[in-house]
Amino acid sequence: MKMHLYLICNRFEALVASQLEPDAFGAYMATGPLRQTTGEGEVLFIEIDEDRIGEPFDIEWARQHCVPHSDGSPKRSKYLSIYRVLEHIPMDAYGQLYMTTRDGRVLGIDHTDEEIPDNDGNSVNMYMELSPIKPLVVSSLGPADFIRFLTDFENPIHVPKLFMADMLVDMDEDGRLAAYLPYPNQEHIEECLRQVTSSGRRKATKTVNRNPAHGGFFRTIRRGFFLGNREKVLYYPFPDKATLDEHHHKWWRSASLG
């Protein structure tokens, strides 16, 4: 059985070796082997190319331990690392991103060579940082600029690498957040957006929530996911709703809490 390397990159960081294919691994991570009917929420993981992962991880050890069980069933998970994983995986080792719903439906998306979108008409963006830090922030910077900004070593507040999602901040005619957005404490988000908009270049980013809730997470994704550092940013475009409903109906139904 083939061994896969998966980087779990929301809620916690972990590099996991597994003999499960991505669909089965996602379902396993979301629902568990002995489900106690308490969902652990959505799971995001990226397949890692073991040939490009480099020195810091003991792949040989993983190969030795990630073997089928005595009954012949595949090894579901063998953890290789659970701390500062993201920063040590080279950018060219990241493969498909798999989005797993609470009930274990999995959808994989590839990063694209397309140009990374900039502000796309929105003067202010909202990003859900997923790894290694987890705050919800609003920023006047486009996704790539924001990642470069936050991974800039000259910046006193920085991380080596960042994985984040671009979130919807659609406004209605009254200048309020659109009614379909499930964010709690919307007045605060609106206030943060106003502050960033009105401050010009003086205040490019503002933290909205240091530990945000993920309610209705997948249906609030705007353009997709971004992963990168100062040198390189990968863009995982999120399919539009029509495509999701047409081609990935079951996943979208679970993801949108149908």
Binding site: Y28, D103, G215, G216, L257
Partner: protein, 869 residues
């Protein structure tokens, strides 16, 4: 006509209805074929064995047969359609098997219950002489036909869901037609069987019974009152179908939602959820079989009550037999017109391919409006042909309008387009507590429309029928309004029963991964079903209240007949030199007997006048010849006169005709002291209110317990079979269905016993006044609480849907979580306790009517024993 001594035995042995009906037809047809006078029956009060029926009366049974034939043709048309691929058939078969498993279990419990009650009815009729023995047999046919309607409705609905989904693949109209015609099968079967039961019994009692058994023919008053008691069969069946169905459906729904959706994050109608099939079965059990039995009871009850009131009113007005007959059969004739109108209305329902939700709703509305207009036109013909006062027509129109007003009131209280539901939804942003408070408050407020509508309708129907000068005429107007409201039931029930079919069709489309355009179409059909279901609930409650009102009005007539039955059973022959004997039966009750009675109870009562002692303007002075007060001259009201007694021209001590005037409603009220200053009446009112809350509590706790069992089972399956979530293992759907079924059957026993026993115990302890108080308390509180629960539950449900549509944060928001809590609380409100109260208010009335004789006879003894006077 040959006598058939083994005929009752055939019935008691449960011979098939087919044989029974065949026998009736064989007995009746020769008379009709002989070309006897087809005019209005003559010699109604004579022992004339050769009665005939006017030709137009046959329109009623023919309409019933038309309904059944239409239902059969619709069913056959549906069954010819494809049920889709193998997977669709598999899912549909799970639901069907679950539904049958539920019905089998329910019919088993109901069978035991019916056997016990049948014996009790035989005991109080043959043993205690306080009821007619045929009530026991009619109890069986009423329950049987109601159960049969439920079975056909369920069979059609569960066979149609996959076919609807399959037809929706080709066109929206195709799906709509199958789902709606499946609902129509339920609607038409209910009205067809109810009217057939009614007309066949009338045919039997009016034409066959006396010939078959060689007894005196029953007069119309007796027939009307005996038939009124027939409603208890339908009521008992409705009790089990509604209460059991309500518990089943919500146990499954809450279990499926709490574990499947909330805990495991599984979407609606996902085959991985072990409770999803039980949930789909529950839709059919609750909204097809339960709703059908509920409305069957209302329909049958309204017709029977209006008939009884019609006879009482016409006799009281001093009309001849032709008019009495017309008043009596008018409700059945209106029902017949309603059936024809419903069939035409159903045929007008068809949708366009590009139809929007609003357009689909208009399509259904068009059918309802067409039927209503046709009923009014038909009613003009009925009133004209039967020579009824035109006020009857206005009462019918009032009833039809009441149905529309209550339906619209329900829509306003529960639809997300209106303020109340929006207000509730907005409260979700501050959490579940404020949402619950808002839902309760709006639900309470919402009762004003149906209550004022019923009050207004009642007053207008009463007044327009001359009730302010002749109470019985006014009450007949109310009864006719109830029949008018229910006249198009064939169609309105079709719109209700359509809901679960389209809901299940949507579920099958999801579970079998049908293409997007099919899912969109079934979603649209489902959304339409949600709207019609909410309106249907309001209609069911409104019609139950009006029916119960008519039954309450009929109660005094039941008391009159009950008293007469007791008096007739105590017959003493007068001395040879006396024109009549007067016997003191104690507690102010007297029998006045004519000579010439045979030994048979049914014969004797036709030679009897029943009377009670009470001061008033129209009393008669007679000398008591038998009993404790023999030799005294007493002042009596004549309660009821048998047919021979009327003809005998008896006079009292002052030369006044004994039979000239029977006691009026107010005379009975006076005799039984039915006044607000009588603590028995007030206690009765309080007990009625208590019943409503107790019944609601019991049914709601039943849902809680059954849902807990379901939650545990679903958790167990997820825990023990991890492959379910991964899609590699199949859930045990049957186990969840069995848990819901067992829960429903177990939990419904206590509410059922309560509903049946309290009226009897109240009557025995508190007498007629206490029973009337109980009926008033149950009706008023029950109606208000039922509307409150249905509207609050419906509004919470739609508040959730409003948020899910993308308002206030949409799915996944805190507001959504709050509305999920509200919806879960509202589920037993709107689908278990609320609808069960419909049954309670009708069943309490019908039980009181059936045991009226028992109460009249024994409650004075109990009161005396307890030192209560």
């Amino acid at each position: 006509m040959p006598r058939i001594p083994y005929f009752p035995r055939l019935l008691s042995e449960g011979a098939s209805m087919k044989a029974f009906l065949l026998l009736l037809i064989l007995l009746v047809l020769p008379q009709l074929a002989a070309g006897q006078d087809a005019g209005v029956a003559e010699g109604l009060y004579e022992a004339d064995p050769a009665r005939t029926l006017p030709w137009w009366w046959f329109f009623a049974p023919l309409s019933a047969l038309l309904a059944l034939l239409s239902a059969f043709l619709f069913y056959r048309g549906i069954m010819k359609r494809s049920e889709g691929n193998e997977r669709m058939q598999e899912i549909a078969s799970y639901v069907r098997q679950g539904a049958y498993a539920y019905l089998r279990r329910q019919y088993y419990v109901v069978g035991i219950f019916f056997a016990v009650v049948f014996l009790l009815l035989l005991l109080i009729s043959l043993g205690l002489n306080v009821q007619h023995y045929l009530v026991a047999f009619a109890f069986l046919t009423g329950g049987f036909f109601s159960g049969l309607a439920g079975f056909f409705g369920m069979k059609t609905a569960t066979s149609s869901a996959a076919r609807t989904a399959c037809a929706a693949e080709k066109s929206l109209d195709g799906g709509l037609r199958i789902a709606f015609r499946a609902g129509s099968v339920m609607g038409l079967t209910v009205v067809g069987l109810a009217l057939l039961d009614n007309t066949m019994w009338f045919l039997y009692l009016y034409l066959v019974h006396h010939q078959l058994l060689g007894v005196e023919p029953m007069n119309l008053e007796t027939i009307a009152m005996v038939m009124l008691c027939f409603g208890i069969g339908a009521s008992s069946q409705a009790l089990f179908a509604r209460v059991g169905g309500g518990i089943f459906t919500k146990a499954a729904d809450v279990g499926a939602d709490l574990v499947g959706k909330v805990e495991a994050g599984i979407p609606e109608d996902d085959p991985r959820n072990p409770a999803t099939i039980a949930d789909n079965v529950g839709d059919n059990v609750g909204d097809v079989a339960g709703m059908g039995a509920d409305l069957y009871e209302s329909y049958a009850g309204a017709i029977l009550a209006a008939s009884a009131l019609g006879v009482a009113a016409a006799v009281n007005m001093g009309h001849g037999v032709d008019t009495v007959f017309a008043f009596m059969v008018a409700p059945a004739m209106l029902a017949a017109v309603g059936i024809a109108a419903s069939v035409i209305g159903i045929l007008t329902v068809r949708g366009r391919e590009d139809a929007s939700m609003g357009a689909l709703l208009k399509t259904l509305d068009r059918g309802v409006h067409v039927a209503a207009v046709l009923v009014i036109i038909g009613a003009v013909g009925v009133v004209w042909a039967l020579g009824l006062p035109w006020s009857v027509l206005f009462a019918i129109i009032i009833g039809l309008m009441l149905g529309i007003v209550i339906g619209k009131g329900t829509e306003r209280a529960t639809a997300a387009e209106y303020r109340p539901t929006r207000t509730i939804a907005e409260q979700s942003s501050t959490g579940p507590a404020t949402l619950i408070i808002a839902g309760i408050a709006e639900g309470m407020l919402s009762v004003w429309i149906p209550i004022l509508a019923v009050c207004g309708g009642m007053l207008v129907a009463f007044g327009i029928s001359g009730g302010f000068t002749d109470v019985l005429a006014g009450l007949y107007g109310i009864g006719i309004a109830a029949v008018g409201m229910l006249s198009t039931l064939g169609l309105t029930l079709a719109t209700d029963a359509y809901g679960p079919v389209s809901d299940n069709a949507g579920g099958i489309a999801e579970m079998t991964d049908m293409p997007k355009h099919v899912r969109e179409r079934t979603d649209m059909l489902d959304a339409l079903g949600n709207t019609t279901a909410a309106i249907g609930k309001g209609f069911a409650i409104g019609s139950a209240a009006l029916t119960a009102l008519a039954l309450l009005a009929s109660y005094v007539e039941a008391v009159r007949i009950g008293m007469h039955r007791e008096v007739a059973a105590a017959y003493v022959a007068p001395a040879e030199d006396q024109p009549y004997a007067v016997r003191d039966l104690g507690y102010g009750k007297f029998g006045i007997y004519l000579p010439g009675a045979s030994g048979h109870v049914d014969s004797r009562k036709h030679f009897t006048l029943s009377a009670f002692e009470s001061p008033g303007e129209h009393t008669r002075l007679v000398e008591v010849t038998h009993g404790r007060r023999a030799g005294e001259t007493v002042e009596l009201f004549i309660a009821e006169t048998g047919s021979q007694a009327r003809l005998a021209g008896l006079e009292d001590a002052e030369g006044n005709s004994l039979a000239a005037r029977r006691a009026m409603l107010k005379d009975f009220m006076h005799y039984f002291d039915v006044t607000l200053t009588n603590p028995r009446v007030l206690v009765g009112v309080f007990l009625g209110v208590l019943m409503v809350f107790l019944f609601s509590s019991l049914t709601m706790m039943a849902v809680g317990r059954a849902a807990s069992a379901m939650v545990s089972e679903v958790r167990r399956q997820f825990r023990e079979k991890p492959g379910i979530m991964l899609g590699t293992d199949k859930p045990d759907y049957a186990r969840c269905v069995a848990i819901s079924t067992a829960g429903a059957q177990r939990e419904m026993v206590l509410p059922a016993v309560l509903a049946l026993c309290v009226p009897i115990l109240t009557g025995l302890l508190l007498g007629v006044g206490g029973v009337m108080g109980l009926l008033v308390g149950t009706l008023t509180a029950g109606f208000a609480v039922a509307v409150f629960m249905a509207n609050a539950g419906g509004a919470w449900d739609n508040a959730k849907k409003y948020v899910e549509a993308g308002n206030l944060g949409g799915k996944g928001s805190e507001a959504h979580k709050a509305t999920v809590v509200g919806d879960t609380v509202g589920d037993p409100f709107k689908d278990t306790s609320g609808p069960s109260l419909n049954i309670l208010i009708k069943l309490t009335s019908i039980v009181s009517i059936v045991v009226a004789g028992l109460i009249v006879k024994y409650s004075p003894m109990v009161s005396q024993f307890l030192g209560m006077g």
